[in-house]
Symmetry: C2
Amino acid sequence: MPPAAQPDLPLSPHGEIDSMLSRKFGKEVANYFSGSPLNRVAFLRTDHTFLTQALHHPSTTFILFKDLNPLLKDPATLATVPYSTVKPLVGENPYLTPEAEQIAAYNSSTYIPTLIFLGLDPAPPSPLTYKSHSGAPVFALDVTPRAHLTDASNNLISSLTSQSLSFSTGRHNLTLPPSAAALYASARHLLDWNTRNPFCAQCGSPTLSTNAGWKRTCPPSDTAFQTPRPSCVSRGAISNICFPRTDPTVIMAVISASGDKILLGRQNRWPAHWYSTLAGFLEPAESVEEAVRREVWEESGVRVGRVVVHSTQPWPYPANLMIGAVGQALPDGEAVDLGNDPELEDARWFELAEVREALRVGTSGLGEEAGPGYKEGGLRLPPRTAIAHQLLDAVVNGGFLAGVVKI
Amino acid sequence: MPPAAQPDLPLSPHGEIDSMLSRKFGKEVANYFSGSPLNRVAFLRTDHTFLTQALHHPSTTFILFKDLNPLLKDPATLATVPYSTVKPLVGENPYLTPEAEQIAAYNSSTYIPTLIFLGLDPAPPSPLTYKSHSGAPVFALDVTPRAHLTDASNNLISSLTSQSLSFSTGRHNLTLPPSAAALYASARHLLDWNTRNPFCAQCGSPTLSTNAGWKRTCPPSDTAFQTPRPSCVSRGAISNICFPRTDPTVIMAVISASGDKILLGRQNRWPAHWYSTLAGFLEPAESVEEAVRREVWEESGVRVGRVVVHSTQPWPYPANLMIGAVGQALPDGEAVDLGNDPELEDARWFELAEVREALRVGTSGLGEEAGPGYKEGGLRLPPRTAIAHQLLDAVVNGGFLAGVVKI
């Protein structure tokens, strides 16, 4: 089995050989939304014999989504249901035939709800064992009422909500612990990607969810139509458009050349006094360091020299890999100029002490009140679950640059 | 202007404040395909007044592609041409009207060759100046013969090839110096993305290249058809499917727990004795460290503990961001097992001395002969332009872990 999953401590390091590398590189930061407890057994996603057993095993659970919002017991707990509950939507066995046969029999007029095999949970007793792998299978299912399954979905939803379960009404209401957040993040990312890509970007034809939800295939024929489908190069070769998209994004705590200030910015839709680290999408043919320098210059006019990667965070809104870095301004590049890209309302340098105090009393989600110690007019910052927070904490409290610059 | 571009030294660090951070974190490695000399001025991609001036300025150059292969003077030099050469394909001014008007007037039956504004080159004399920015504009143009421009493209190609210019016949023939390689990488990545995404993945309708080649928009109407287009959520909100895709990929030199061996693998289609570091796509809801641990376990059975990011490399075949890391096996996790994912033909541990010798005499591109000092049967490794090579070099020669583990 693969390396042990994270315990439910989003900021704890991976354990066993810490002492060897952490002295040189610092401890690993496992950000919120990472740390899934599941073994993905990615190579079994095309094995219909395995998937059939996984679907029907007594240890199997399903997490449900409606319009990308998860079913909850309460804001801190994902609800799980057994196969019998979802059978009216899923059917007896969508994995009955090998994938190649499903592709050959494709009919675009038949709605199939998106079902994703997320992996095997090693923890529960009496798990499924398949070849050398064992664990309790976990699936995610889209139960949004659609097409011929509208009534079945509505019935399922009514039955669930009568049991005091409810679908989240937005991401800011969720307070999932880290391992549940990681499960949710993988499911939401994949459901969103399937929902956003029902057509082939190469030829414009409708596509079929395959590989247990991890691929979309452009079938060569469609029994719903007499006319042949256009030819498509995505069928003859591996094409990235068939696989889930993840957008690399850089986010950076920029310190001044002498290390005594931090650059933060704000958008005009944010609450008053709320700032964060700068961020933006990495572009084609850029290294992470180049993307950091370009984004900081575009948004603030500040020119960055050295860049060091701190940690990464999967961010499922909808599909980002946040690559967190610490950058340092060039001595003659600290002047703020908002005249390039009008994305930010403000960007300016803050004293380390002000950032340290804001991390102590002024952090919250964007829609929430600041904490009890916050004084009106003080700097406000993102919560602990955001990598922006971790980057700032690493600089002002964690000694990320200790011994190198005077912070 | 933004931070100075890299000089033509793919492995040199960015300069000015090296002394402060490199003592702690090591020098920055700028891998091949990064280090573009251009200022992208991304925020001007929607400014049709700027684009009009950029298209027609005397300092402007175009690099040309046919079937994604660049026009070359020789294998080490990209050919550039002026506006007058490409005018038969580009027309008088494709940026004449604001983008909103072009979208409103969309006609899917009119073929428009993909034209990409890559950025401003700060080096040449007599550059274009626009607001506070100046440089010589650089564009990339797809001249592959198509639709009503087939004859014009063929004429252009004939004229160019009669001047001893030729299109590359494949990536392994290219020996571009780093700054030209970075230009090529950005152009190839964007041209490939435009070519691979002529239809909207959300609604299946044809799309229009916008933002000077950096976006594809799903127009609300199409004058080529009487029937209305389907509604599409990509029109009402920002959707990532409209923007270039870059796939984060992890690639890792894995050292043994005691630091005296390195794990390498090979695919069966590679030349005999040729090995490389393991690699694979990062999946949704994974941190870089998690992706490294999963991929290494899937492909080799080895279980990795600590993971440290080393450097990143844009890789334009077609659209990867290679995230290079050094990982360390857990003391009880070093057994090789190829039984999970059948992707590799072999994976095994190599002594550091063998890897060091192979870096000295056994490196080459996949299609090339090994160097003169290579003895048949010895280990072969990727060339200096590959991040795999840089990772191995960092471990066995660069002292990446010096003082921490005994290498």
